[in-house]
Symmetry: C2
Subunit: 242 residues, 2 copies
């Protein structure tokens, strides 16, 4: 009888794949995580997350209070290089590792800064796995909402068209977008700070531009773009137009 | 000695105004509220929220599990009419009621569906009070993040320009916006469903359009826009382009 139950349980494990959860843990403040994310982290045995060049995982640190000692953790070290190839190879490998857990019937919660479907690195895992596995998303507070709240600058109201514009685009493309929207948030500032500053001067928007780095985190900094020195900003910075 | 302490406490109460908190409670699923919102609701004595024509407050119902019996509640009944004047008069009055609480040294938590600074009715209270009072925002999960998660359609990645476009705009304005963005979410569908359908056919996007109503709520419905009958959608509906 025991053997029969074991066989049934084994065959269930073999046939029923686990689900991959993309779990948004919010922009940095550990209190900006949702109950839904906490419940998923509590319920799921295997937790995955990216690790940066500094050896740390921002997503894991945001959710740290909710990760028990009993979890199995998959840490994915992603190098920040101008050449994307090494990172892509690591995503390939991570997708196989996560896929093996799912095939063994284990759910996996991948922790994602902000919202998994809003400019998140989760997309690199998602695109590699969606054809073969069931994936569910738990939305998170994104950096643009956190920046809006911290600066006191509303994102949009009534009939405003709001655009989120990566500063990585060419100057021509940026110009074409800026001219047709009512409200704009520029993300991925990094080494594109000088280009965005130049464009905002050109369009008469520089005096309305608020700069914020590390929104909602302890090291958050907010200032008028006019008061920002230098040409390079941290990766976690954005510009919002009042 | 006791009298002196009382005088100090009274003068402190008289001079120190309370803070108005715009508290995002998320898109509908009660588990999509943040710890920060829950902590604010627990800590603040006076809770304010809007009430619709059906006599119900969606924001209050989302947060209901966290609202103790000891709270003072300010319910603001906003009529949904094509003439905005009656609603504006009610916002004027509500701003005075909330302002009186703040002047008496009480903080007030105004509960907001989604995110307070992202197309929220909170803007009507905010604009009436920001010159006189300190206002802090607790960001919330917005309906567009909830819709993206529920439909499995990512909002944006890498260098995408993502636009949020109110369907209430004129056909000319909508055309001008649609043609310059990579990813679009149309909000405020309501009675504008037919207009958006026509435009998406014109721009060859109709087969990629996913319709969702009541994202993250029990009555959530998702379908291809091609399969949606009729010309009018509920207020809480949006269209996302895959």
């Amino acid at each position: 009888m025991v053997n029969l139950i074991m066989i049934i349980m084994m065959s269930k494990n073999i046939t029923k794949k686990g689900i991959l959860y993309g779990v948004g843990v919010g922009p940095g403040d550990p209190d900006l995580i949702t109950l839904k994310a906490i419940k998923a982290i509590n319920a799921i045995e295997v937790i995955a997350y990216l690790i940066g060049d500094n050896g740390k995982s921002l997503a894991r640190s945001i959710a740290a209070d909710h990760i028990g000692d009993d979890k199995q953790e998959i840490a994915i070290p992603i190098p920040m290089l101008s050449d994307p190839k090494p990172a892509m190879a690591i995503y390939d490998e991570a997708a196989i590792t996560i896929g093996n857990q799912l095939k063994n019937g284990h759910d996996v919660a991948m922790l994602c800064e902000g919202d998994p479907f809003f400019y998140g690195s989760f997309m690199y895992i998602y695109s590699r796995m969606i054809d073969e596995f069931k994936i569910k998303i738990i939305p998170g507070i994104s950096s643009i909402m956190a920046a809006s709240a911290a600066t006191g600058v509303p994102l949009a109201s009534r009939n405003d068209v709001m655009a989120v514009i990566p500063a990585t685009l060419s100057e021509d493309k940026l110009s074409a977008k800026i001219s047709v929207v009512d409200r704009a948030v520029f993300i991925k500032i990094g080494s594109n700070l000088e280009k965005i500053r130049r464009l905002l001067i050109k369009y008469g928007l520089i005096d309305r531009a608020i700069y914020i780095e590390y929104a909602s985190m302890d090291k958050q900094k907010i200032m008028a773009l006019n008061d920002v020195d230098g040409d390079v900003a941290p990766y976690f910075s954005l510009i919002i137009i009042k």
